[in-house]
Structure formats: structure tokens, C-alpha cells
Symmetry: C2
DNA sequence: ACAATGCTTCGGCTACCATCGAAGCATGAA
DNA sequence: TTCATGCTTCGATGGTAGCCGAAGCATTGT
């Protein structure tokens, strides 16, 4: 009869409310952990896990393992485009979506991720390093270039021997929680954050449990001078 | 929490295999009857009816009543676009579709629809009449213009009084089975077909039960001269 | 008038699948 | 090592929706 490019199969994936909520939560191109997606969909983690497996098998999402977390993102913008189209059709006979409000702005701006800088400024820093060829990134792997080593020694007094560690890479791409793009982890990420603190450019927030990193006025300027993208 | 433009709702409509088969069958922009769609999907008419109601409620298809038939078409090309996109996503992890073979070519070319001409030539004729302003069509309603009346009288010896009937319109748009576009029905459609037979341009096929209309060599030329679109 | 065709509605059956509890791995922290 | 966290797998349950038989309208044809 007819075999078909199983349009029904992929459509049924989106057709489940829980999965649809997950997918729309991923529509901004960022990545979310399995737990976060479960919360978005209002289901338990084990149910979400089942759904995510199916979405992955259907090629709609791609996982990225990060420590004990598992981040999921849409496979590419083709998927986003189809979802956008479906939303357009749905909007004809339904109502519009209302997004939840933003979280703590300071936390999104700059915070500690384990021992390195995360948030808007963290992502910005890695962007700057990449753009100026101070690091070379191939997929998940990042390595420091010789120009990068010179740059660190000259401006931040960080020497390569300070960065060596038995079981930890110097550079590592870490998926940013708020920006959902990579920032710099590894011993270099930790060393940079430590240096920022030593230079009184920034320090962790006083309130216990907080992950916020407060930059000083001069610290912000110095940081922008080294890693600015021109917008700050 | 989140209301959403129920993307899941419309996706679940496409997500059912039976409905997906119907929708893909409608992808060429033509219209199909409920029974035909049922056969396409391999389900009974009553099941198809249920599916078509849902698709209509979801705004994916639109019905057009035609006698005791009910033709369905995709609402617009936005719907087709989304289906196309879904097919694209599905093609990544699936196999391609194989279409069923064509039917009797003569039947598609020219046939009787009740008492008027249908098929490729029938659609072509209405196209020609519309294009030359001999009829005016607004949605389903068609009316003969004064130029049209002159044209009929001059070339085919059809006068307006031959076309009046107590309970039947002069012109009517009739959805074509093979072309899935409108051809001309009504008393004018019947009168034209009758005239074609009288002029020995065409006659119904001899085999009983056949709806094929055979055009003579000269008849085809005359017809093309009056209603040709330049391609024949 | 009656019959035939096309489609819909109704009722019940069945199968699938989303959901969650509990247990099992894996990773990271102490 | 031991504990905690994040996620997955397993098993069982329940609700939902597709499906068809039978009957009911609507339209057309005789």
C-alpha cells in the first residue's frame, strides 16, 4: 500500500501534551536538563525520561551529558521551524501562550558554576577567547593556544604550570544554565575566577547558599577591557 | 502555569496514522471525498468520518458539500507547509513514500459527470470561460455574463432561454474527481455537453457503465479552438 | 412513492500509552 | 569508602482514543 515517511510518527511525538511542553520550552535554542524539562511539563522525572528517550529516537532532541546532568536541546532549527509552524496553526483555533516571568537578574548576569564563572559574563568571556584565537574549540574540546598562554601570563599572571592537574582538563566547555550556551570550565576556568577574586574584581555574594557573583565597578571595567564584546 | 497555543492538540491530529494518511493524500491541493479518504487510510467510512470531524474542528481541512458527496481539502497551504516540514523531519529517520500508480487515463481526460463534461477537458473549459470573462465566479456561485451569452449564441447556438429551469441553476461549480478543481455544471454544463454530442465532437463510450467521453479528431480541434489553453 | 448511495451518529470493545512507585546505575561530594 | 543527586529502567495501572457494527439522515435516481 503505502509506506510513507512516517509523518504520523514524528507528529505523534509532538502530539503528547507533556512532550509538547518540553519542546516549546526548548524553542529558544537553549538546553535544559531532564529534571527541568520534567518540571516544565509537570510530570515526574521517570515519565520525562521516557518521553525524552522517544524524542531523541525521533530525532527531535539531542542530549548532551554534563556531569550528572543531562542537557537536552532541539536537534536543529528545522525542528524549531516545524514547531513554530504547528504553533501558528494552533493559534488559529486556540489562545496564545503566556511565558513565565524572569528569574533573578543578578544570577543570570554572573554566578559560580562549581568553581568557575558562569552566566552572561561567563559565556561572554569564552566567546571573546574563541573569537581572538586564544583558545581553539572543536566540539566539546577546548585547548589553549600559545597566544592564549601569552595573553594569560601578560594580563592575569596565570602561567601554564598553574593549570596542570592530574585528573582535570585545563579547558572544558560547560553548558550555561541561564544562557544555555557554553562557558569556560576546567582548571583555567577555576583559575580565572580565583584571579578575579584576588584582584578584587569580583567576589561571591555574602548570603549563604547564593551563587551570585558581584563584580566591583572597576572590576567590571577591567573585565570588559579584557573580554568585552563591545556591547558593554 | 502555561496555557500554550495548544501545539500538542494540532500535532496529535496529525499524529494518528489514519489521519496522517488522509492529510498526505490531500497534499497535492486537490480535494477528496470522505469515502476516498477512508480508503486511502484503510479504515471504514464511519471511522473516517470521526477523523474528518476532528481534522475540521482543528482547522486542518475544510469540507465542501457536493450532492451526496463531501469533499475535503486542506484549509490552505500553511497546513501543507507544516505537513511538508513534518515529512522532512520524518525522512531523516525513516524511509520515503511510494505513491500508487495512475488510473485510467481516458477517464481522467474526459468523462460524464451526471450530465456534463468533467475531467481535464471539463476543468480546462471552465478555466477558459473564466479567463475570458464569459462567466463570473464568486466562490461557489457562477453567473453567465452578457459577453458569455453572445459567445454561446454565436459559436454554439445556445440561447439563454434554453438554459432556464425551475429548480436548477444555469451555472454551478462542480468539483472535478480527477483534477480536483472545479468544472462547469448546471443547465449550461448540460447544454454544452449535449451540444458537443449533437455536433459529433464527442460521444459517451459504448461500453455500458463507462463514463468515458470520446472526442473525435475534428471535435477535439474545435473544442481546443473555443476553450483551448494553448497547451493542446 | 421506493430504493440506492454517501455520510454521520451511537454504543461497545480493545489496545495502546502516559503516568507513577520502586529499584537500579552513574556521577560527584565528603 | 559512603552518601547524595540526577537520571534511567522495570512493572503495574488507568484513562483515552481508535476502531467497527448497526442504525439514522440526507441526497439522488427510478
Amino acid at each position: 500500500m503505502k509506506s510513507g515517511p512516517d509523518i504520523a510518527m514524528v507528529a505523534s511525538l509532538v502530539g503528547d501534551p507533556a512532550r509538547a511542553n518540553m519542546l516549546t520550552a526548548l524553542m529558544n535554542g537553549r538546553a535544559l536538563t531532564a529534571s527541568e524539562l520534567a518540571q516544565e511539563a509537570g510530570i515526574t522525572p521517570q515519565t520525562a525520561s521516557s518521553h525524552l528517550s522517544k524524542l531523541e529516537a525521533g530525532g527531535l532532541v539531542e542530549p548532551e551529558k554534563q556531569g550528572r546532568h543531562r542537557y537536552y536541546r532541539l536537534t536543529d532549527d528545522d525542528v524549531a521551524g516545524v514547531l513554530e509552524g504547528l504553533a501558528g496553526l494552533a493559534a488559529r483555533t486556540g489562545h496564545m501562550r503566556v511565558r513565565t516571568g524572569p528569574k533573578d537578574p543578578a544570577l543570570r548576569r554572573a554566578r559560580i558554576c562549581y568553581d568557575h564563572l558562569a552566566g552572561d559574563l561567563g559565556v561572554q568571556m569564552l566567546d571573546s577567547l574563541r573569537q581572538r584565537q586564544l583558545v581553539r574549540q572543536r566540539k566539546q574540546d577546548i585547548e589553549l593556544t600559545t597566544e592564549g598562554e601569552r595573553f594569560l601570563a601578560k594580563h592575569l599572571q596565570i602561567s601554564p604550570d598553574m593549570l596542570s592537574h592530574p585528573r582535570r582538563p585545563v579547558c572544558k566547555a560547560c553548558l550555561d544554565w541561564s544562557e544555555r550556551r557554553h562557558h569556560l570550565a576546567g582548571t583555567l576556568g577555576a583559575a580565572l575566577m580565583q584571579r578575579f577574586a584576588e584582584l578584587k574584581w569580583a567576589c561571591r555574594d555574602a548570603t549563604p547558599g547564593s551563587r551570585v557573583v558581584n563584580f566591583t565597578r572597576t572590576g567590571e571595567k577591567q573585565f570588559a577591557a579584557l573580554f568585552g564584546n563591545g556591547k558593554d
